[in-house]
Symmetry: C2
Subunit: 235 residues, 2 copies
């Protein structure tokens, strides 16, 4: 799979930055070049630059001056778009969450259309497909690793964000795993709440080891092997 | 179990800071109050203060001035003991690794002396005992989480340290798991290398979730449940 050096290049457009419909008085031909679109472009450029600076220096040590220099604007202009470092943090982290896998899952190949294991296979495949995709966007993984660690320090803007994100992710996986259990597809004795936290924990932890030595660990294999212990996945 | 607010208070003495035998000419009664012992005490105080500052602010944002103020000495005096922030980093991280669990494992209770599962139970119990112990030293977990995330940023003194630490830990668990496999105690199909990386990853990841919400996850239970999937542990 292709592996661009810089995950930021493949970051999808952050939802908050998406161009809205232009005001009615703007002629149709100028729609995508008007002042609003230009402002949105600048905001995207700032977010992309801040993404790299936060990922390579951390949030605290990052300076708005360095971000401004990278996009070739003054710090004053940058502050016009993002009045505080905290607001820039939230835009960067939103752009990270907007990254979507582009791979087409093919885990169902070879299974009969009526195979009762299909819901379990789909659940596992979404996770391992995302993990494989992430190997191609190391910048995205690095940004996350740096900010989620830094987020537990005093008065960090990531604290609430990550606490809520973890809670939301755990709750989502619990719903999925309880549904699988009700279908008879979760191994007896596996607690959906503990398994939900385990999937997220294993994923975070294996990404961290991968950042330190990409040749030493196989992220998708680690997740797949765990999921195969709790779900009836084909070998 | 008792849970002190500040893990640093329970950090064992770093090996590098242990008082050596005093020179022969020092009278015996002054041994522990001589200039060498005083210097070692000061180094320990600096390391304890730096531990807290790094854990609450991160390495990059931490200032030597703040560390010096906490121990009531000038920055010049601090630099006499630790000539660089990097050297202080290594001393702090060594003091973290010196933290040892004080719990007495009792997982073998109820097993017959000749139970063939004992090696697997011991292996799992060392891990879950350490995880339970860690809940009592949140400062130690927080320092680790902050530094291991920050360590992947450019030119960070933690990069080599954590890369080597991960490699050493994986290698250690691989040896243990291969031995258990040779005893017929590892579930068929489990790859010792992947399982070794998984134990470390799950541990790191669940500690991270715990730092964000200690009530939402049970670190020891997550590790025990995973280990029970790959080893023949008593229910």
């Amino acid at each position: 799979m292709s592996a661009p050096d810089d995950g930021a290049l493949r970051v999808a457009e952050p939802p908050a930055e998406a161009p809205a419909d232009p005001p009615a008085e703007v002629p149709a031909v100028r729609r995508r070049r008007g002042p609003y679109a230009k402002s949105a472009e600048r905001r995207r450029a700032i977010v992309a630059a801040a993404f790299d600076v936060f990922a390579t220096r951390g949030f605290r040590a990052a300076s708005l001056r360095e971000v401004a220099e990278r996009v070739g604007m003054s710090q004053t202009t940058l502050l016009h778009h993002f009045p505080s470092k905290e607001e820039l943090f939230l835009a960067v982290i939103a752009s990270r969450d907007a990254v979507e896998p582009v791979l087409a899952p093919d885990a169902l190949r070879g299974l009969a259309a009526e195979d009762p294991r299909i819901p379990a296979v789909r659940f596992a495949d979404l996770i391992t497909t995302q993990a494989s995709f992430n190997e191609g966007v190391p910048g995205v993984i690095q940004l996350y690793a740096v900010l989620v660690g830094e987020g537990v320090t005093d008065d960090h803007p990531g604290r609430d964000y990550f606490a809520e994100r973890f809670a939301r992710m755990r709750a989502g996986y619990v719903v999925d795993l309880e549904r699988l259990r009700d279908l008879g597809l979760l191994r007896d004795g596996v607690d959906p709440a503990i398994a939900a936290a385990t999937i997220i924990a294993l994923w975070d932890g294996i990404q961290l080891q991968w950042l330190y030595d990409a040749d030493a660990v196989d992220m998708a294999a680690a997740l797949r092997d765990y999921l195969a212990l709790i779900l009836p996945l084909p070998a």
